[in-house]
Amino acid sequence: MNVYTKIVDNGVDAKALMAAKEALSEAPEAASFQWRARSNWVNGTHCYSEVEQFHGLGEEQSHKRCFRFDADHPEIFASEDNGATPVEYVLVGLASCLTAGIATVAQHRNIQLHSVQATMMGDMDLQGILGIDSEVRNGFEHVKVMFDIDADASPEDIEALVAQSQKRSAVFDIITNPSMVEVEVRS
């Protein structure tokens, strides 16, 4: 067992997370979660989405409040730019997931964080989505994440935090591995 003498607080309740991990390994069915969002078209390329309910620990759950997100496209695409583009939400999702992981792993490894900044870059060739060249894919050709981290740890330990966070990240997994996506239209 690790015994630490310095007190580290990244605002992560590591004890509660470990207790949850133990509880869920005893009752794997409770670990089955479903995440949900509902999206509505507004006008043009503008949508707004809401996130509130989800399912987990064997029952319906709810966020503290309903979160709303506007998505649109910039004016150079002749759109009204009422929100970030959907692909930017993907970058936001990846950054948020990796950063949350870094804070959690740092707490677990007794590393005090002072600042964590992720700069996200997703390279895309628009010839794909515009149907100009069928050999170009629609999605990102390359995603680059640059972390600037100030923490009480050696560069190798910080590098290991970031590597471990990728290993355990849901969004990193979703982006780096294929996922089954089923799309239906309700009649």
Binding site: E141, A160, K167, T176, N177, P178
Partner: protein, 427 residues
């Protein structure tokens, strides 16, 4: 083979050991020392899996000096060498002869079930009853092949390390090796060397240099007491039990084996096999990260070795320590491969092994099919296991780990037997 037992009614013995490999023979040694009446049942010949389920060029990953068994240490002339399979078979045979193990070969256990006061053991040569039973059938009995193997086109030959012998058995053309632990990386190297283009799909792995500061890496693992680390010392036992075997190879020149040596030979590195859609195979984009995780873990091990040399004055090469180059991964490794128009003619699944408990009719498996045990003491009275990864210590699945574990398991087993008989006398 002696057949006089045929058609006899069930035989009784205090203890049955299933498996005549190094682990079964090690526990037999201690059972004999404590006069526990027992037999060792072996499905084939002694050391069967070393004879029949290993490729031709394979050598042990541990040097000879390290492979001691109870009452026998290495006495040969090449303590730093690595045994090939014929030598391993010879080594185990010699051990069995010396220890006079009560071995029954060509005896395949078909079922083990609870019975009055112990266990009933059905074999192809009749039935046995015992009070205590030790499972020593090995952790590597069955190659694990992922379900997506079924989605591969029939024109592609699929093999596991148990079936692979040498490159000559493969068709001409490219080979996809899936898995970069000890088996996958060794086989990838050998096949690439045969002139076939190898693509290696790399998931999480463990990297180690063959030697560091003038000594075999196993020397340092031994002297840092890492092999003796017990299940009490680790935070997450399931994680360490699931670790893959390190990228190591036992060669006279003690060469390294890692992603860099493989790509220098021309092996193409891709990410873990993530899926197959039609004839298109998809690879994970996590290759750079698994390589980085392995590098960082290796560097922490080398740091610990440096520290131990410094603090404990361990004997080492006087030259300043050289750190291995980190894994070189191209910026955008391929994320997919079309099997229909690729050069790949063979897929070799080096995706791990698991024990085979298909004959075990005692309710001791968890929902993942793993044996429920604490340090080899299985969750059913009088039932024990040997040789699983990190069963009691990091060395539990090593040849050299059998001694400690066999002694501890025998002690528990004898205490169980005497406890039982004491109660019976009181009653």
């Amino acid at each position: 083979m002696n057949t006089r037992y045929f058609r006899q009614s069930a035989r009784r013995v205090t203890t049955i050991v299933i498996g005549g490999g190094h682990a079964g023979l090690a526990i037999s040694h201690y059972l004999s020392a404590l006069s526990v009446d027992h037999v060792v049942l072996e499905r084939g010949e002694m050391a069967n899996s070393w004879r029949r389920e290993r490729w031709d060029s394979l050598r042990l990953l541990t040097p000879n000096w390290q492979n001691g068994l109870p009452g026998q240490c290495y006495r040969g002339t090449d303590p730093d060498g690595y045994m090939g399979m014929a030598e391993v078979v010879e080594f185990i045979e010699a051990y069995a002869r010396r220890s006079k193990a009560p071995l029954h070969t060509q005896t395949t256990v078909t079922a083990v079930s609870p019975s009055e006061g112990g266990y009933k053991v059905a074999t192809n040569r009749g039935e046995w009853h015992c009070r205590t039973l030790v499972i020593a059938t090995g952790a590597f009995a069955t190659p694990v092949v992922p379900a997506i193997a079924q989605a591969f086109p029939g024109s592609i030959m699929q093999l596991t390390p148990h079936q692979y012998r040498n490159p000559d058995q493969l068709a001409a053309g490219g080979v996809l090796v899936v898995g970069a632990a000890a088996s996958g990386s060794q086989i990838a190297e050998e096949i690439q060397h045969s002139g076939r283009q190898v693509t290696l799909a790399v998931g999480e792995h463990v990297r180690m240099p063959r030697s560091y500061r003038g000594r075999d890496i196993q020397y340092w693992m031994h002297h840092l007491d890492l092999l003796d680390e017990s299940i009490e010392d680790v935070d997450d036992i399931d994680r360490v039990r699931g670790l893959s075997s390190p990228q190591l190879i036992g060669t006279p020149e003690k060469r390294d084996l890692n992603l860099n040596t493989l790509s220098d030979m021309g092996v193409k590195l891709v990410g873990r096999v993530a899926g197959v859609q039609g004839s298109r195979l998809q690879f994970s984009a996590s290759l750079a990260n698994v390589s980085r995780l392995a590098d960082l873990k290796m560097l922490r091990l080398l740091d610990a070795i440096d520290e131990a040399i410094e603090q404990r004055g361990l004997e080492a090469d006087k030259r300043p320590p050289q750190r291995p180059e980190r894994g070189r991964i191209e910026r955008s490794p391929p994320l997919s491969l079309n099997l229909a128009n690729s050069e790949i003619k063979t897929v070799l699944w080096a995706t791990g092994f698991r024990p085979d408990y298909s004959w075990l009719e005692v309710p001791v498996l968890d929902r993942k099919g793993r044996l429920r045990h604490r340090g080899g003491v299985v969750a059913s009275p009088g039932l024990y296991v040997m040789g699983l990864p990190f069963m009691r210590r990091r060395s539990s699945s090593f040849i050299c780990g059998a001694d400690n574990d066999a002694r501890a398991i025998t002690e528990h087993l004898v205490a169980y037997l005497t406890g039982n008989s004491a109660r019976r006398r009181v009653a």
